[in-house]
C-alpha cells in the first residue's frame, strides 16, 4: 500500500533527519514507529500524509507518487486518512461534537448521517457524555481521546496516529490500543508512532528509528500469548 524508495528528508537549515529509507507497509497492517525523541517519527508520518515532501527518493501510495503530488490532489488524498496529531490540533472554539463532525462537514455529509456517525465515534472513546462541552474543559487524556474520535469518524482506510497514548494512563492506553486493533481487524491500515510498545498480544510490525537517523526494519513480531 505504501512504499518508501530511498527516501531522504532534511529540513532547510538542519542536517538530514531521515537517510535513505526503504520500507513497505501492506494494506491492513498494524505498524509501530518507535525511536527516541527527535529521531524522526513525526517526520515519517508527515511524509506519508503528504504534509511534508521528501528531499529525495519517492513515496508510492497506491501507485500515486506522493513526492510529485499536485497541491489540489492533496485534499482528496487526505480525506482517506484519519490523522491523530501529537499536539491534538483540536478546535477550541467548537464543542466536542462539532470537533468530531468537522471531517464529515468537509465530506459534505447530511445532518442526520453526521449525527449518527459522530455519536458512534464519541461513544467509542468514552466521551459521549461530554459531546456538548468545549475541548478546553476536557482533561489532557480526554482531549487525546477526542482527537482519536475525530480521526476515526470518517471511517478512513488508513489511520495515522502520532503518540496517541502519551497523555493517557495505562488503563486508557490499552483501551485506545484496542480501538486501533479493532480498526485493523476490519482491514484498516494503522500506523502508530510511540515510545512505548503495547503489552497486549497482537501481531504488529515495528519500525525502529535510531537517533542517528538510520532505520532498522524489524519484521512481524508475535508477542508471547
Amino acid at each position: 500500500m505504501i512504499t518508501f524508495e530511498k527516501v531522504c528528508k532534511s529540513y532547510p537549515g538542519s542536517p538530514e533527519i531521515l537517510q535513505n529509507i526503504n520500507l513497505e507497509i501492506l494494506s491492513g497492517e498494524l505498524v509501530f514507529v518507535t525511536g527516541p525523541s527527535g529521531a524522526g517519527k513525526t517526520t515519517l508520518l508527515k511524509l506519508i500524509s503528504a504534509i511534508e515532501k521528501p528531499s529525495s527518493g519517492s513515496i508510492i501510495f497506491e501507485s500515486q507518487n506522493l513526492s510529485r503530488i499536485k497541491d489540489r490532489e492533496i485534499p482528496i488524498l487526505r480525506r482517506r486518512f484519519g490523522m491523530i496529531f501529537q499536539d491534538h490540533k483540536l478546535l477550541y472554539d467548537r464543542n466536542c461534537f462539532a470537533n468530531v463532525a468537522l471531517p464529515l462537514e468537509i465530506n459534505n455529509m447530511s445532518l442526520s448521517d453526521m449525527n449518527r456517525r459522530v455519536r458512534a465515534a464519541l461513544d467509542k472513546v468514552d466521551l459521549l457524555k461530554k459531546e456538548k462541552m468545549m475541548p478546553i474543559t476536557l482533561s489532557g487524556g480526554e482531549q487525546q481521546r477526542l482527537a482519536i474520535a475525530r480521526a476515526i469518524v470518517s471511517r478512513p482506510s488508513i489511520l495515522i496516529a502520532d503518540e496517541p497514548t502519551a497523555n493517557l494512563d495505562k488503563e486508557y492506553a490499552e483501551e485506545i490500543m484496542n480501538i486501533f486493533y479493532s480498526f485493523q481487524q476490519v482491514g484498516v491500515t494503522v500506523i502508530i508512532s510511540t515510545h512505548e510498545l503495547p503489552s497486549t498480544k497482537i501481531n504488529f510490525k515495528r519500525l525502529q528509528l535510531n537517533g542517528g537517523s538510520i532505520q532498522n526494519l524489524i519484521g512481524h513480531v508475535q508477542l508471547p500469548s
Binding site: K46, L77, R79, F85, L91, D93, R94, N107, N108
Partner: protein, 302 residues
C-alpha cells in the same frame, strides 16, 4: 448540483454565524461601508441635480442682439428671418423693449424705476446656439454685424461655460473621490477579512490537514464579506433617503429665504439597487482576494 448548492448553503450558514459571532466587528464594518459609500452617492445625487439644472439652462440665451432704438417692424422681421435660416442657431427669442423694461423694473427697486419716465431699453433678440466652437461663433457674429438695424451683439455664453466647467470639475472630482473611496473600502474590508482569517487560523489549518480544499475554507469568508456589503449598502441608501427627505423639508421651511424653486430630486429607485449591489460586490471582491491570499499563505503545521 444539489451537492454544490448544499455546499454553498452550509458555507453561507457558516459565514452568517461568523458574522453574528463577531457582531461588533460586523456592525462596524457595515457602518464604515455605509458611511464611506454615502459620499460618492451624495455626489451622484448632486451631479444628477446639477445636470438637470444645467440642462434647463441650456435653453436660455447665449447671444444677445440689441437692435437700434429706431428699428422698424420690417427690419425686425428681416433679422428674424435671416436668423432662422442660420443652421448654427438652435433657438430664437425676441424680446420687445416694453417687456424688457418691465422685467428690469421688477428687478430694480420700485422706488428707482418709478422715477424713470421713459423706457431706456431697446428691442432685442436672444438666441442660443448649437455649438460652442469659437471660430464658428466669431463667423456668426461677423455676419450679424453686417445686418442693418442691429446696434450691438454680445456673447453671453461665458457664465454658462463657467458653470459647465465647474460642473464637469465637480463631476470629475466626485468620480475621483468615488474611485478612491472604493479602493479604500476594498482595502479596509480585505484587511478585516484577512485579520479574521488569522483569528480562524487554527480552524483553517486543521481543515486543510483533514482534507478541506481552499475553496471550501474560503467560502464562508466570502459570504461574510457579502453580508458586510449588504448591510453597508442598506445603511448608505437609508442615510441617502433620509438626507433627501430632511433636506427637502428644510428647503421648504427656508423657502422664504432661498425661494422654493430649489428642490432636491431623489435618485431613481434603481440607483438605490445599484448602490446595494455595488456594496455587495465590493464586499465579495475584497473578501475573495484577501481570504484567498491569506488561506494560501497560511502554512499548515504552523
Amino acid at each position: 448540483m444539489f451537492n454544490y448548492l448544499h455546499n454553498h448553503y452550509q458555507a453561507f450558514l457558516n459565514g452568517f454565524s461568523r458574522f453574528i459571532n463577531n457582531i461588533g466587528a460586523s456592525v462596524m464594518m457595515m457602518i464604515v461601508i455605509g458611511i464611506t459609500l454615502c459620499l460618492p452617492s451624495a455626489g451622484l445625487l448632486l451631479i444628477e441635480n446639477a445636470g438637470q439644472i444645467s440642462q434647463n439652462i441650456e435653453h436660455e440665451a447665449e447671444i444677445s442682439i440689441f437692435l437700434d432704438r429706431s428699428v422698424s417692424k420690417d427690419q425686425i422681421d428681416f433679422i428674424d428671418l435671416s436668423l432662422e435660416k442660420n443652421s448654427l442657431i438652435k433657438k430664437i427669442h425676441f424680446e420687445p423693449k416694453l417687456i424688457a423694461w418691465e422685467k428690469l423694473q421688477s428687478k430694480l427697486d420700485v422706488a428707482v424705476s418709478s422715477s424713470v419716465s421713459n423706457n431706456p431699453l431697446p428691442d432685442a433678440f436672444f438666441i442660443s446656439l448649437n455649438t460652442l466652437d469659437e471660430i464658428k461663433i466669431q463667423k456668426l457674429l461677423d455676419s450679424l454685424d453686417g445686418i442693418d438695424g442691429i446696434d450691438s451683439v454680445t456673447v453671453d455664453g461665458n457664465w454658462i461655460k463657467k458653470l459647465r466647467i465647474g460642473l464637469s470639475l465637480i463631476k470629475l472630482s466626485v468620480f475621483f473621490i468615488a474611485a478612491l473611496l472604493i479602493i479604500v473600502l476594498l482595502v479596509v474590508i480585505g484587511n478585516t477579512i484577512r485579520l479574521q482569517t488569522l483569528t480562524y487560523k487554527d480552524e483553517i489549518e486543521v481543515s486543510k490537514l483533514i482534507g478541506a480544499t481552499n475553496a471550501f475554507i474560503q467560502r464562508p469568508f466570502m459570504y461574510t464579506g457579502i453580508l458586510y456589503g449588504l448591510g453597508g449598502g442598506i445603511i448608505t441608501i437609508s442615510i441617502l433617503k433620509l438626507s433627501v427627505l430632511g433636506l427637502n423639508a428644510t428647503l421648504i421651511k427656508l423657502a422664504s429665504i432661498f425661494g422654493n424653486n430649489i428642490i432636491f430630486q431623489d435618485l431613481p429607485h434603481r440607483f438605490y439597487l445599484y448602490i446595494v449591489i455595488l456594496a455587495m460586490l465590493i464586499g465579495l471582491i475584497s473578501s475573495y482576494i484577501s481570504a484567498r491570499n491569506s488561506i494560501q499563505r497560511l502554512k499548515i503545521y504552523k
